[in-house]
Amino acid sequence: MTDEPLLRVSALSKFYGSRVGCDNVSFELWPGEVLAVVGESGSGKTTLLNCLSTRLLPSSGTASYRMRDGQFRELYRMSEAERRFLMRTDWGFVHQNPADGLRMTVSAGANVGERLMAVGDRHYGKIRATAVDWLSRVEIEQDRIDDEPRAFSGGMRQRLQIARNLVTGPRLVFMDEPTGGLDVSVQARLLDLLRGLVTDLGLAAIVVTHDLAVARLLSQRMMVMKDGRVVESGLTDRVLDDPRAPYTQLLVSSILQV
């Protein structure tokens, strides 16, 4: 384990005019750590995720990322091209709706291969072999490689989106409600798959979810957001088993027991 975090976020705020998106958020994320950001709709968790992944620029605050050469770089001072390069190579972003993260009209294999070509791979045979390997890791049958994701079920599309994101060996993956809108059995399969991949690859991940069960299963640490602010943070099992903030207690007590 390294002694330095992968990501340092300090006093990050985003305002939409006078409306608060997220307010004064600070945290550090280490390699191999999964951080869950929970809260209900409108709590600012997606705004935070979009700022961190530089899809949105914050109103104030800083975020610095440790590059592969070990140097910290200030995310919001990078050029657009540098940020895009980071997004294509060292980061992944798994959207709630797979259609936002996939190209629906090119084949599954091309969806995965495209990310490889973006990092400079040019050998068709190798790209195809890697694509086949990744599709099998996310449990997509090899004979579906030439099909378009349009012809896939929701769960398959989501697994394909994960393969597309992980094929370049990213060190940090952002996920926005990765299991939202899926049937529970499909959700369980996806969670199991994500857990395995995150552990095997030693990924760091920031997962936004409103589902506390998903947070418990995937993350070691948790931040609870309300009205754009972090009201509580800590070890996931500590926050869920001994919630301290009034809002966290309300959230935890609202979980339906099966």
């Binding site: 199991d192 800590g234 070890l235 500590r238 088993d241 309300l250």
Partner: protein, 235 residues
């Protein structure tokens, strides 16, 4: 004998914000230490705060006051004030925990549930699975269940998976929250043997055992938790 864990003046209460912020005191002035090679037992009636104490020692409950000093790697750490990252490292290397109930993960087999803590400590998956098989066999869990996720197992079967998961590693400190509550006599005896083996290996154990026979068989020392009742201090 070395002292791997010292608890001093720990206090814990719950503030119920959904009940107009009433404060429920749990324990106060908790002070004790545990020794390597011994099994210390927390005694006292239900509701005295035994499980809460174990959960604080595992970082699962926050601590209001006091210190929990644990020997971790080559230094001492105050768990009551440690960062989440440090608590995770302590759990991986130093403190193991057998909870009262198994928290199951969908689609993960009983064998992998048991092997997981070893894999997290860097053991090869197949070696870890080998140890997991041996432990599950020792605990008389039918082999046909090993490849299945434990969600649909009976209470006793789940508890044996949970015990195997807790005992598979060589953590120097092991916390046990009623590990024998839903076991039959034969398997209770297996747990007593497993605890004896841990003691012989120099592990410091701290447990809650409602079962009188098990307590008699394993306890070197009993700490009466009613002495830490929150009301006592004020009175």
């Amino acid at each position: 004998m070395p002292t791997p864990l010292v608890v001093s003046d720990v206090a814990k209460s719950f503030t119920m914000h959904l009940r107009d912020g009433i404060k429920l005191p749990v324990v106060a002035g908790v002070s004790f230490s545990i020794k390597a090679g011994e099994c210390t037992v927390l005694g006292g009636p239900s509701g005295a705060g035994k499980s809460s104490i174990l959960k604080m020692l595992y970082g699962n409950y926050a601590v209001d006051e006091g210190q929990i000093i644990v020997k971790h790697e080559d230094g001492l750490i105050d768990l009551a004030h440690a960062s989440p990252r440090t608590v995770l490292a302590v759990r991986r290397q130093t403190i193991g925990y057998v909870s009262q109930f198994l928290r199951t993960v969908p689609r993960v087999s009983a064998l992998d549930v048991v092997a997981e803590p070893l894999v997290e400590r860097g053991e090869e998956r197949e070696t870890a699975r080998g140890k997991a098989r041996a432990l599950l066999a020792q605990l008389n869990l039918p082999e046909k269940l090993w490849a299945l996720p434990p969600a649909t197992f009976s209470g006793g079967e789940q508890q044996r998976v949970n015990i195997a998961r807790g005992f598979i590693t060589e953590h120097p400190i092991l916390l046990l929250d009623e590990p024998t509550a839903s076991l039959d006599a034969k398997n209770r005896d297996v747990v007593i043997e497993l605890i004896a083996a841990k003691k012989a290996a120099g592990v410091a154990l701290l447990g809650i055992f409602h079962d009188h026979d098990v307590r008699e068989a394993v306890a070197d020392r009993i700490i009466d938790v009613t002495a830490f009742a929150s009301g006592k201090l004020a009175a």
